[in-house]
Symmetry: C2
Amino acid sequence: MNFLNSSAKRKSNLCTGTWPIVIVSFAMFVVSIPSRADEGMWTFDNLPVKQLQDKYHFVPTREWLDHVRLSCVRFNDGGSGSFVSANGLVLTNHHVARGQLQKSSTSERDYVKDGFYAATLDKEIKSPDLEVNVLVSMENVTDRVRSKLKGMETGKAEFAARKEVMAEIERESTEKTGLRSDMVTLYQGGEYWLYRYKKYTDVRIVFAPEDQIAFFGGDPDNFTYPRYDVDFALFRIYENGKPIDVKDYLKWNPKGPGENELVFVVGHPGLTQRLDTVAQLEFDRDYFDPNLIKRTKHRIAALTAYAALGDEQSRQSSTRIFGLQNGLKFVEGSYKGLLDKNVMTKKERDEAEFKAKVLGRPELKETYGGAWEAIAEAVRKDSAKVKQSLFQSTDSQLANLGSMIVEYVTEIKKPDGERLDGYHDAQLESTRFELFSPAPIYPAFEIARMTASLEQAVEELGPDDPFVKTVLHGRSPKDAARELVNGTKLANPEVRKQLVQGGESAVAASGDPIIVMERNLDPIRRENLKWHEDNVESVLQQSGEKLGKGRFAVYGKNTYPDATFTLRLSYGQVKGYPMNGTKAPYKTTLYGLYDRALSFDSKGPFTLPSRYATGRDKIDLSTPVDFVSTADITGGNSGSPVINRNAEIVGLIFDGNIESLIGGYVYSDEASRAVSVETGVITEILEKLYSAQSLADELQGTRLNR
Amino acid sequence: MNFLNSSAKRKSNLCTGTWPIVIVSFAMFVVSIPSRADEGMWTFDNLPVKQLQDKYHFVPTREWLDHVRLSCVRFNDGGSGSFVSANGLVLTNHHVARGQLQKSSTSERDYVKDGFYAATLDKEIKSPDLEVNVLVSMENVTDRVRSKLKGMETGKAEFAARKEVMAEIERESTEKTGLRSDMVTLYQGGEYWLYRYKKYTDVRIVFAPEDQIAFFGGDPDNFTYPRYDVDFALFRIYENGKPIDVKDYLKWNPKGPGENELVFVVGHPGLTQRLDTVAQLEFDRDYFDPNLIKRTKHRIAALTAYAALGDEQSRQSSTRIFGLQNGLKFVEGSYKGLLDKNVMTKKERDEAEFKAKVLGRPELKETYGGAWEAIAEAVRKDSAKVKQSLFQSTDSQLANLGSMIVEYVTEIKKPDGERLDGYHDAQLESTRFELFSPAPIYPAFEIARMTASLEQAVEELGPDDPFVKTVLHGRSPKDAARELVNGTKLANPEVRKQLVQGGESAVAASGDPIIVMERNLDPIRRENLKWHEDNVESVLQQSGEKLGKGRFAVYGKNTYPDATFTLRLSYGQVKGYPMNGTKAPYKTTLYGLYDRALSFDSKGPFTLPSRYATGRDKIDLSTPVDFVSTADITGGNSGSPVINRNAEIVGLIFDGNIESLIGGYVYSDEASRAVSVETGVITEILEKLYSAQSLADELQGTRLNR
């Protein structure tokens, strides 16, 4: 994917919170979905046992599932990963590690471009602001949430009560267990769960290859296949200054999977909208996606111009440009799917069928029958505000930090249940970790980003928009950006700490131009948010929950919930597919890497890193590089391990093919495929091209002795 | 293409005939088509000089064109080729040579599968029935044809008069010059030309690689790209038992073309229908194509079952199966294009515009205005007969030979101008060459083919169809086929000669079961043909000619005529294209051959010939294999040379990509590409894998001294 969980942030409300660790029952429902397709991102409490048994004659045991779950981690900046050694080594994608590599680089050493390898423990680099989570328990708290909603007359009242009880559950759990505790809404509110995580924040970079091999083929090849990317990186998790000991980690199988082999993907898919109503899809198609595409293109153009100024500018902006291009290709693919008449027709048919069943049963009709129209009405209102929500935006780290500081000092004075998301007691630790990150901020780059976003805000919203007026204050976008960035001290994390510690009075007294601006923007933002909660969010929650319950009533719980950036298990076969008149193979080899490079005369995104150009004869070119499977994944699954029946790791998810991009709305296994790096190529190149034998040994089971 | 000119035979009426050799004026019209696309299969008298000048700043000289034209040959069984040495060496595709390789093979030696190399001249194998032509002159005889049509009242009368004058022109030319003389109808009858060819029938096989490398990727990869096929073969032309001396041959440039380089393709595209009316396209879409697809699938299934019986059965049927699969993939691609609403909408728009211009000018309206409706009425009638014309068919060489014998003895007794096509005086030599071919005929294979086609005839036409009744004569399809094939002596060419020499009385007296059957079928076929000429063909010719003239009147002669399996020049750039979310490169390399083979675990159509599996280290894997260009080609162009500005050969056309298959109806250079073998890989493998140094030397300009 370069399947970073960017789109997930659009809608996910990750909440955090206290409750005794009750290991959830893994009693597996016998569920079935109509087709024999390998569909679904299943929660660990509700696995497709019957499908697995019928099609593959294999069902994971309780021990298998516990072991696998505890071997997997979530990268809180949007990806997945897994433990691959007893000494806390974590495997993920290069593009998941990319943000930390970028933040750890300087004008002298560019770890993104040139890669990084710590040959000994003392050389491992601490990530500036990376939090990694391991899911240790899951608890169904639907009844507790529901009991608080009883008797509420309006969506607005329900919204407030739901928010309050969820913050309360999280807080209680955090206090009691010391674990990160997140409320998770499944099936659009059909169920509420409390997930508890072991949280790690000392995560050190061990190895990353050159960007040019991890992301070989660049933006053109992104989200496509056949592919030749070795998109991996290795971190090590520390506690108390030492690598942690890990009981549950995945055994390395360098042979990779065979054709048609059953594999499992365990990771954290970020966002799908398969249970959304047709009205919501039309909203995305007609309002949200076109405007998001417009915004992203504009930003890419501005940053590409900045990158062209020189090597250092290019280095500073490369990860941001990557993220924008990645998001653009993803949303364009998804948008194209929504424009496909067949897709929409299928959705309309499914909804009509569901609706007919609900309306056909008087008790269901009475309770849930009005939900579709309520949702349609809410998105109708929302569609008028799309431009505002997308373009009232300064694309700037400094501005983001400024707004967080302004919000922080106000929010923590309120009762927990009334605070904005991100500032509940259970969330504060993670929020401060982000807020006080020592990652570098580049003023010229900030000015370029801010200028571009302000220019587009003027263009899209006009000079009289309250946001535009407040930020510009009569200045041109460029002058405003320059004065704000050059005048602020917020790039220094100590300054940010002082402001937060100083509380409301310190923030009110500050003359820092970005704090001043954010103080003035704060009421505008709060007003927008209030409008959105009252008119959209509260309706979607209330009516979504009705449809969730209605779905259970009509179809039973024989399905999986939409993705929520929480742990899921997908399964499928390693299998090629029909492509462009021929067949895409189930795997690729290193021969293909050289073919694709030379086919483009080793230019642009198809340049081979010099290590590969000169080291060709050192490696076995028949080594498989990437492979595809029918496993159902999406953004956020980046870095997920692909494991076989023996719970050995045989691959590493890093992308979906172009045919899979409609997957946010609908799954098909005809040509939609998850793309993975094979394990074997990782150890092959570590040993033969990087002289990283001890690291390869550790992956292959040798106990760390470095 | 595997762009054999199979579809061409659908409609082309290649006529043959006498006239003094008048080298046509190459005065080049200054023509222009609206877009800057590299569109067009241009006749040598009317080249797109302005486009070439504007876009590429290069216009071929008269000398360049003469040299290139005389360097190119037509393979009369459906392909193209070129002279590549002073000693009559001709380069074409393996799949063009395949028929002759098949016919020259036996159960002991399979030249298709194993390839063939004559290290010395005496080892070269004479092709059983291959005729090769070189275009030596072109003459515009439109006025002469038109003068004969003047005053004809009806389409039927015109049809007969046209047929008569064309046979007369061909006969005169043949008698006077001794050259093969073919009438060519261009622009749907907007122009009539006489093309004269030097004809060669002693064409010997020099070299062919293994089918598995020429057609690597098999049916799946056919008509797709990226591709890794070395689809070439070499023949040598003899006269009087000696290799001919050739003045005009293409200089070998083993470097291949660079990205974006201007290249020319010179060859014999078989059939396009770009000037067809919408009614004709709808006929193809709704009647012809679906039935042809059905017929072809049925035949493939039957022959595949036959091939599965054993190695020898597989050998006997492989080339026929290849031909059917190739035709199927082509027509399916083309059919899919016709089903594309965008394509049809464009066609409708273009036609509406042309029609409005004709109807807007009273003199044009008067003469040409009724043509569209006349054509629509003719295809309406034709659509009722599609099943008859496709399924009244015995898929059998013996039956074909039988019907030719029965027709031959009757036709030659008629005045030349009244005969069936193929039996005019000017055509008889070529017809006899085909009829008396010593190529082997396999009885069991014949029975399998015949049985399948008769089964489908019963299924599609019912038991009371006159064709079905006549052939089966109360027997089951299988019994009929068995009795016919086992009872006939027609597999022996001497028997065929005796029947032809014995004339009508010998044929009438024959008790050979196939001759008896064909005698009974002959009146049915003639009646069908008569109906078709009277109701369809004569109307299409008359009205097509009106539209051809109307088009000249409205647009001028700034365009190219539809393909007619006659010499054309196309041009374009060597250029990749957007594919499946990413970019297809402009070329591929030998690395990719190994990647694709291993990606499929070297199975099925992706098996590497053992020479390549074991010889990997002998060859330079960075050698380019195939490349793509925007040149406008179609079936029949197989084997065409790709040449650079210096008239050096840099590649060898062998296919179009899947995006190009709608090209029969409409051209686009967005993603439609011609696929070629690079010259360099041919000499690389000849030298390093086949120990064919002297042949490689001859290609590279060393005078033959073997």
